[in-house]
Subunit: 174 residues, 2 copies
């Protein structure tokens, strides 16, 4: 499927509601659960998405759209959330994410991007030339990947509890 701005926004605008429906008010046995050392809980995932709203997607899109001399993206800090979420309740993080995402979707929609703009390039620190279209498709797929991850992390907490049904639940061993 090709990237389509309207279809992409349909996902981006839903993600805060999806995470709220999934996590709000849930016991911390679920929201702080991980897949093992160095893996992320749903709580950590929400903080990671917040950092992306502030530091990644829109700033990178702006860098591309400006087409200035320096089009090289700032490397993404995959650990920022361990600092930035400190002391915050999950409910606060869910509100913060919803607020930031709403603003960012409004910014994106407000640009009314043309095909020519979607084809503009920036410079990824590892991949080199990437288009705005690829960046926006990645924003969408990144959301869906982390929604899937949050559900998978929680499912795995019952890997033993399901007994023999583990054989029928591939999510428990992904």
């Amino acid at each position: 499927m090709e990237f389509d701005l309207e279809q992409g926004i349909a996902i981006l605008e839903r993600t805060p509601r999806v995470l709220r429906a999934t996590l709000s008010g849930l016991p911390s046995a679920w929201t702080d659960a991980t897949e093992g050392p160095e893996t992320w809980s749903p709580y950590v995932i929400v903080g990671h998405l917040i950092h992306g709203e502030r530091a990644d997607w829109i700033p990178r899109a702006e860098l591309i759209l400006a087409q200035g001399a320096n089009r090289r993206f700032t490397p993404y800090d995959r650990f920022a959330q361990f600092r930035e979420s400190e002391g915050k309740a999950l409910a606060e993080l869910l509100d913060e994410f919803a607020r930031l995402r709403e603003d960012n979707v409004a910014t994106l929609a407000g640009w009314r991007l043309t095909d020519a703009q979607l084809a503009l390039e920036g410079e990824h620190p590892v991949f080199g030339a990437v288009t705005l279209r690829q960046l926006l498709a990645t924003w969408v797929a990144h959301d869906l990947g982390h929604v899937a991850q949050a559900a998978r992390v929680m499912a795995k907490q019952y890997r033993e509890a399901v007994g023999p049904w583990r054989a029928y639940l591939p999510v428990l061993d992904r």
Copy 2:
């Protein structure tokens, strides 16, 4: 993590809201998307969950709780939804699932199951003896697995569109 009735219900009661937040009003390019032949779209997944509410989880729990002479479960029909969802809009299915799940969670909570009851056994057609506790843990993990699947199926639609970022998005190749 051990199965806990209250924590399990916290997931079960959220799933209809999660699926509604994820899928309601979304373009069919997303909700009818699959991972390839013989794989399921989000639309098909919702129908599958509906069939489970009618035919699987609560009927099997009742069979176990009754402790009659025949404790053997009816095999699960993994293809029932292709028949049962026919002609129904996704919005109808989301409503139907929410209604059935609400009733089933009320039934489950109303039983006020004891540890002794959770240890009672039924006979799975393939696995043999399974406990009520394992059945209920499976219900929860099954929900989360299909929520993860729906997000993963949609993410994969942008497998090509993300360009080089595919290397950073493991969900696209799971």
